[in-house]
Amino acid sequence: MSNSLRIQYLISDEDFTRAGEASGDVKAKLKMMGVNPEVIRKVSIAMYEGEINMVIHANGGVIDVIITEKDITMILKDKGPGIKDLDLAMQAGYSTASENVRALGFGAGMGLPNMKKYSDEMNIETEIGVGTTVTMKVFF
């Protein structure tokens, strides 16, 4: 048998109360694996940010998580509007969030920067009108 665990999470859109369920589940799994707490912290923050982004910007989507003995890969795929200016989006503090979303405490412009900061490898593929796929990897 293969030494990896694959889990798929469907991220529902426009439901802030459910955002964080997927990253919460991954966090619980990593704790049961005995992964270093500092690494768990990185993974859960990076994935939570990604999950929230999918809810806010992209009408939800799918997150595939692959856990091996050595690392975790999170593939966040959405069919949202795509990111117009990736360089700008990567800047800390830059946000397209509406007042509504900001009022909820989101939209501080730290989503993508934090995902980059807390993952060891990050790759973004985005196309306007088609969607975005963010792949993050964290080594154990």
Binding site: M1, N3, M33, G34, S44, T68
Partner: protein, 425 residues
């Protein structure tokens, strides 16, 4: 490390093997095996929720007997502030304190007096350690135990200061030795406790090596005798002036009291074990945009007044504490008359008790097995197998302590299959 004593235990004869406790336990520490509840000590945080829910009174807290005062030459009672909220129409704490002396104690030392010192030490610590914000209260032993096994990333945020009970015990012993000239072992320090978690923290402290408390007596056990003594003391009009605590100290008996003692508005206070877990999870995920300087967490609803060894309704107890505090000064105990040691002396280590395997590869394999098993189970979380959820059963199976056929739904399928095969013979 790795001390996993628990005060909560089972009376096997009374246990009917129902599923109430397994469903209520916040750390999924209980299973029903062979018709009886079994507590996994490593998972148990002594919150007492199972004691609360058990209709058959089969869950008990190990506490000490007040009869043990005869084992010492000099005994001091340490009443928890929440004790004052157990009596009706109490307007003078001295009645409770004098009554305790009447019950055979040579002296009393209020935990709430020590709490005022802990408040001032904590206030200074919180101010001086902004890098550690939010500092999480460590006065509730269940919360400390929960963080130790489940929230490794929050250990560094724990306030490294002993709970008021420990400082009270240290001071009471010091005073008793000075007063009597007796040896330390001849002095018995008795804590009058609202909960089983305090028993555990006395036997196996976390953050410091040894407790200064000798015996822990349950409030509910001394209650009838205490009320009788209080009545007597009032009737005979011989109330002694013993109380050394003000509003801050007494306030510690309920949720928000410890935070109020820090004299800051930047705090979060949560009570009830499920709420505590939710706060810790969100905190760990850095979901709080603006972190408060201090987080007070109490496993029991209402705080210590909600302890499972209390008598009074916790909400009514809060009302009573409020009226008791009304005409008191903010604090009465400002500094210790001799050097005391409120700081933690030991580093707290994360105890990954929920880990599935001995290494990453084994854990990973086992986790895949858990996922596969969960697909097979109906997901009803009915508890009939003795585990609180289907997932918990799956984990037990891969840990080798349960069997797939413990699930009655799987067993039913199996029997159907067998009978089909029989009929075709």
């Amino acid at each position: 490390m790795g001390d996993f004593y628990t005060s909560v235990h089972l009376d096997r004869d009374l246990c009917k093997g129902c599923i109430n406790c397994i469903k209520r336990c916040p750390t999924e520490a209980i299973r029903v095996r062979n018709g009886k509840a079994v507590i996994t000590k490593e998972f148990c945080i002594d919150c007492g929720e199972c004691i609360r829910i058990c209709k058959n009174h089969a869950k008990l807290a190990t506490t000490d007997s007040i009869e043990n005062i005869s084992n010492y030459k000099y005994v001091v009672a340490l009443p928890a502030p929440s004790l004052y909220a157990q009596a009706n129409n109490l307007d003078d704490i001295n009645i409770v304190l004098t009554a305790l002396k009447d019950m055979g104690f040579d002296d009393v030392f209020e935990v709430s007096a020590a709490a005022e010192l802990v408040s001032s030490v904590s206030r200074r610590y919180v101010e001086e350690h902004q890098d550690q914000w939010p500092l999480i209260s460590t006065a509730c032993p269940s919360v400390v135990r929960l963080i130790r096994v489940r929230f490794p990333n929050l250990i560094e945020h724990m306030l490294p200061i002993k709970p008021p009970i420990e400082l009270a015990a240290e001071m009471a012993r010091h005073i008793a030795i000075e007063k009597t000239g007796l040896k330390s072992e001849d002095i018995g320090i008795f804590f009058i406790s609202p909960c089983p978690a305090k028993v555990t923290s006395v036997k196996f402290p976390i953050g410091y090596e040894k407790s200064d408390v000798d015996q822990v007596v349950a409030i509910k056990d001394i209650y009838p005798k205490l009320i009788a003594s209080m009545t007597k003391v009032v009737e005979e009009n011989r109330i002694e002036d013993l109380s050394r605590s003000g509003r801050i100290g007494i306030g510690w008996g309920r949720i928000g009291g410890e935070a109020a003692g820090l004299l800051t508005d930047s705090y979060l206070a949560a009570d009830g074990i499920e709420n505590v877990i939710k706060v810790l999870e969100d905190l760990e995920d850095q979901k709080f945009l603006k972190v408060p300087s201090f987080i007070e967490l109490n496993a029991c609803t209402g705080g210590c007044v909600g302890g499972v060894l209390q008598v009074e309704n916790p909400f009514l107890a809060i009302v009573k504490l409020k009226s008791l505090r009304k005409y008191l000064p903010v604090a009465k105990t400002h500094e210790a008359p001799f050097p005391v040691h409120p700081e933690w002396t030991e580093k707290v280590e994360y105890q990954p008790v929920f880990k599935l395997g001995t290494n990453m590869l084994e854990s990973l394999t086992k986790m895949s097995q858990v996922d596969e098993l969960c697909q097979k189970f109906p997901g009803l979380d009915c508890g009939s197998c003795g585990a609180p959820t289907c997932k918990a059963l799956a984990e037990d199976i891969v840990r080798g302590i349960a069997n797939e056929k413990d699930c009655i739904h799987i067993l039913k399928q199996f029997i159907h299959k067998l009978s089909d095969e029989f009929s075709q013979l």
